[in-house]
């Protein structure tokens, strides 16, 4: 359950932002999660409920914006989106690729508060 540690860290950023902006209540939090970030959105939600309890973010909506994996082919220089799965085969030259340009995101994207 590393989602708990991730959410704890995220929550400290959220609360620092809320303080900085003089907010009393956080209503909505948007996360950007890459397809290859290796976290379970469901587990993140569960962790969020635990770590937000009794904080100004208690009861806030947690939204997740998914970021698809985008890969660069070293052989033919094509950039392609990965439809699914973890084997990155270049659609143009069939090479196996590893150069992930997008898809590992694990970011706090937006906070809505009053």
């Amino acid at each position: 359950m590393h989602e708990l540690g991730i959410m704890e860290s995220a929550m400290s950023t959220v609360l620092a932002q809320a303080r900085e902006h003089g907010a009393r209540q956080v209503h909505r939090i948007v996360l950007r999660i890459g397809a290859l970030a290796g976290v379970e959105p469901q587990a993140l939600r569960f962790a969020f409920e635990i770590v937000s309890r009794g904080t100004p973010a208690d009861g806030a909506e947690l939204a997740v914006e998914n970021v698809p994996a985008r890969v660069h082919c070293a052989d033919c220089a094509a950039d392609f989106d990965v439809a699914g799965g973890f084997v990155f085969t270049c659609p143009r030259c069939r090479a196996l690729c590893a150069d992930l340009r997008q898809g590992r995101e694990l970011e706090l994207a937006r906070i809505e508060m009053t």
Partner: protein, 257 residues
Amino acid sequence: MCVECGCGTAVPFGIKVLSVLAPGLLRATSAPAAPAPEPPAKAVDLRIPLLAKNDRQAAQNRAEFARRRMLALNLVSSPGAGKTTLLGRTLDEFGLTTRCAVVVGDLETDNDARRLARSHAPVAQITTGTACHLDAEMVAKSAGALDLAGVRVLFIENVGNLVCPAEFDLGETLRVVLLSTTEGEEKPLKYPPIFKTAHIVLMTKVDVADALGFDRKLAAENVRRIAPQAKLIEVSARSGEGLADWYEVLRAALPPA
């Protein structure tokens, strides 16, 4: 602050009115007329890594390792894949000519550190309690407690876990993922995120592959499909097979002294 008084004057970020009205804010609004105006809601767009604190510490670790001209390796695997056994033998062979240090993480006990204790290599145990992975701060503290004078290679044995360590950068130079023959050939397909981040994949315990009916070729192909970026070495800490290649890779990765 305008949130307090509801004046809605310039604030250094986007403003968006939400339908939700926080209780207690009405008091402060300057217009007492009903219906009460909603307080301005703030929406801040950001791009802050959720693990910002860990990432910062990892960057500091990386800078410190570089300053010491030290190669730092983060060894990750399922529980029992053979990290400690491999490190013990590596200290006894490679470690005789190249000074090494180890920090080893486990939920409980200092058994692994005691197994690794050698007069020629400083070792520190991290007990994480409940955390299923090491983080950059634990590594900074434990490495800081060691005498790193002359140390060229720092091995960081992560908590046995193929999932959680993936997102936690420790500041390592190289990430080493171990896949043991007792786990079956499919591991890379089942736990792709960690294999995607590997610089080196070690297929361990190859001495018992035949007895287990483990197909080394198939496993190697699965590693290649998921992690074509990784250097794959097939090793046995028992028979010694492949260890010369492992030491050679370590030697080649050493930063110039």
